[in-house]
Amino acid sequence: MNTAPSVLIVDASRESREVLRVLLERRGATTLEAERPEDAIRITREHHPDLIVFDAESDQTASGEPTDHLREFAVDSDTPIVILGKVRHFCSPSAAEEIVAKPYHYGPLIRKINSLLAAA
């Protein structure tokens, strides 16, 4: 990887976004942030991040549709996505989709992100 990889962090909690941002920047990645999956699709379309880290709880709709859209969008745009927590609709996970159960430890999460970025 020549240029710094970019990671989109989708999380409703500013605090969680900050932790990930600091950790990712520390290892030389650039970060983008979104509070909701709805915004995430727009940002992905504009900035083509190398990876999306998506907190399932950032989708506050009852239907869970934005989550489905974001996941479909990630598959279509060939962007690996790490999902934190439980997603309601269990569609067959794509190859580049990783689900991390909550509460998670940051060490393994960062390693997982690293290996996905390396594979990209």
Binding site: A12, R14, E18, V19, V22, L23, K102, Y106
Partner: protein, 596 residues
């Protein structure tokens, strides 16, 4: 929607909606309804929709499917049916029959003047006198048959009344026994209930006719009991020689002629027990009444009817207790789910913060080891640690809030009023919340009342109440660029009221949600809220004899007004003053003692 409610078994308290054309039930994960009961087969049964109703079908389970105590292979469920699968008992509730909305159109309640309804009350009777209807009119000499029929009806009516009056089974059975004794000339009687676990009959109530030796044991033939329970038939027995049905067992006492009635208490689902009465007809009495019999077929019939009523009541009561227990379990489950979710989020925050600190220290150590401690690298490492520390501290605060809210909510506590100043208290809260507001880019404005006397209230509790509302106000402005929260206090001498108003220009609350915001564990803030804040605030205000008023408009903002009666500290007599340390703090009402 039709639903099942687990009233017994490991899943007790779980409510299951029957949604879809076919719903499968079993122990295996693939089932729509998974029950944790080892006596339930992997694929035990299925529910198929048939019109409005559901039909349960056993899928060849090893232990079978029972509806109201009967084994079934296929059965159309009706509301109130009890399903037993393995050790689990479920209650089925179907769709409400009849449409309530339509009825409202068909039945109108009119005031008398309107609509030409000229009906008038011709005769009125207190509800309690209903039983009098069955007593014979004085001026009528009725046939003995009619008199008996009346008296029978009356006892049924009284049984129905008795069972509707109590939820205490023992009391209920005692009352029924008493009535039976008033009605029939029995010498001894007892009611036995079947133990749920063992199926054994256990005596619950025993009665002897007055004058008879009450320490005498009642001996009941097991043969009769088995016959009654197994066949679900009431029997009238006599140990006179002419009946040889019981002779094989030879277990009926032989002293005079003993007649007995033993009837099953057949409820809706099962035989729940038996009622037994007997009488001893001595040779003298036989001569007197000219017949060896005292109990008749009619007595037997009526006893069966009474026992049925009693059984229904016993079932209802047991059932009610199970329901209460199940509901309670469901509530506990919900509480635990909600709390663990919130604690999980805090834990995640703590992990994030401490991981940052760990990484900061690692970077710092690395820089030290490499020998070149550049100011820049050190600054960066410390920066990461500081961020981590900030997050840890914030989550520590969240745990403390959660725990204090939980304590406030759970305790039936009385507020401990002490002289305190509301302006000072609110000023502290505003100071405390400034950092949080700044972080959210919300302007926090504090407008104290110009005059605020020292009042009697529980400052610690009131602090929580106001803090929760201010926190909510700031959170409500989350999505706004020009968020503004205004906190004002007001003291009205005329109304004897103190108020704290918290006004925000945030997201506001939809009208239909206004009622819900005070419900426990209902948070509109997603992961950020515990769903405890407002219920706790309201509880505190109510404990102070006050309340919280809410006005809100979606996308415009909300105004929360916390108000409580402004009680002034009792003036302390000058002579007693030296006994009360700190009493000099108490100011007279007229003095201007505003702060902030």
């Amino acid at each position: 929607m039709p639903s099942l409610f687990v009233i017994k078994g490991r899943d007790q308290g779980t409510r299951i909606r029957l949604d879809g054309a076919t719903v499968t039930l079993g122990r295996g994960v693939s089932n729509a309804i998974q029950l944790h009961d080892t006596e339930i087969s992997r694929e035990h049964a299925e529910f198929r929709r048939r019109g409005e109703a559901f039909v349960i079908r056993d899928l060849g389970s090893s232990n079978g499917t029972f509806v109201n105590g009967e084994a079934v292979t296929e059965y159309e469920l009706k509301s109130g049916d009890q399903l037993q699968l393995g050790r689990t008992v479920l209650l089925y509730t179907g769709v409400t029959e009849g449409r309530v909305e339509d009825l409202a159109d068909k039945i109108s309640i009119v005031s008398r003047q309107e609509d030409g309804d000229a009906s008038r009350i011709v005769h009125a009777m207190p509800q309690a006198e209903g039983s009098e209807i069955l007593s014979p009119p004085e001026n009528e000499t009725s046939s003995p048959w009619l008199a008996r029929a009346r008296s029978n009806l009356q006892i049924m009516y009284r049984t129905a009344l008795a069972v509707s009056h109590t939820l205490d089974i023992d009391q209920l059975l005692a009352r029924i026994m008493e009535m039976i004794f008033e009605w029939v000339d029995a010498d001894r009687g007892c009611i036995m209930l079947k133990e749920v676990e063992t199926g054994q009959l256990v005596p619950k109530v025993r009665r002897h006719r007055n004058g008879l030796h009450s320490e005498e044991r009642i001996t009941i033939s097991q043969t009769i009991l088995d016959y009654v329970v197994d066949r679900n038939e009431g029997v009238l027995t006599s140990n006179a020689r002419d009946d040889d049905r019981w002779d094989a067992a030879k277990s009926i006492l032989r002293m005079g002629v003993r007649e007995a009635i033993c009837v099953p208490m057949q409820g809706r689902y099962d035989v729940v027990g038996v009622i037994y009465i007997d009488t001893l007809v001595t040779p003298q009495r036989m001569l007197q009444q000219g017949s060896p019999n005292k109990f008749t077929q009619e007595h037997l019939k009526l006893m069966i009817a009474i026992a049925h009523q009693a059984a229904l009541a016993v079932e209802d009561t047991t059932y009610y207790k199970q329901m209460v227990q199940a509901e309670r379990l469901a509530a506990v489950g919900q509480t635990i789910a909600s709390l663990s979710h919130h604690i999980k989020n805090i834990l995640q925050g703590v992990r994030g913060g401490s991981y940052l600190i760990e990484m900061g220290m690692k970077d710092h150590a690395k820089a030290l080891a490499s020998g070149e401690v550049s100011a820049e690298a050190a600054e960066k490492a410390v920066g990461i640690m500081r961020k981590g520390w900030g997050i840890v501290e914030k989550n520590q605060e969240r745990i403390s809030t959660l725990v204090l809210d939980m304590l406030t909510f759970s305790k039936e506590r009385e507020p401990v009023p002490e002289p305190a100043n509301l302006n000072e208290l609110v000023c502290d809260i505003v100071e405390l919340m400034k950092a949080r507001a700044a972080e959210e880019h919300v302007e926090l404005v504090w407008l104290p009342a110009p005059s605020m006397p020292t009042l009697m209230f529980d400052p610690e509790a009131m602090h929580r109440a106001v803090l929760n509302v201010v926190t909510n106000a700031i959170d409500a402005c989350h999505d706004r660029a020009d968020g503004r929260v205004e906190v004002t206090t007001q003291y009205s001498q005329a109304e004897i009221m103190a108020r704290v108003a918290v006004v925000d220009n945030g997201s506001g609350i939809e009208e239909e949600d206004l009622e819900k915001i005070f419900a426990v564990f209902v948070s509109r803030k997603g992961g950020r809220g515990t769903g405890l804040g407002l219920p706790v605030s309201r509880k505190i205000l109510e404990e102070h004899g006050g309340r919280i008023r809410v006005e809100s408009k979606p996308n415009v903002g909300s105004r929360f007004t916390l108000e409580f009666p402004a009680l002034l500290p009792q003036p302390i007599p000058a002579t007693a003053k030296h006994l009360v340390p700190g009493s000099t703090d108490i100011e007279p009402v007229s003095a201007d003692s505003s702060h902030g």
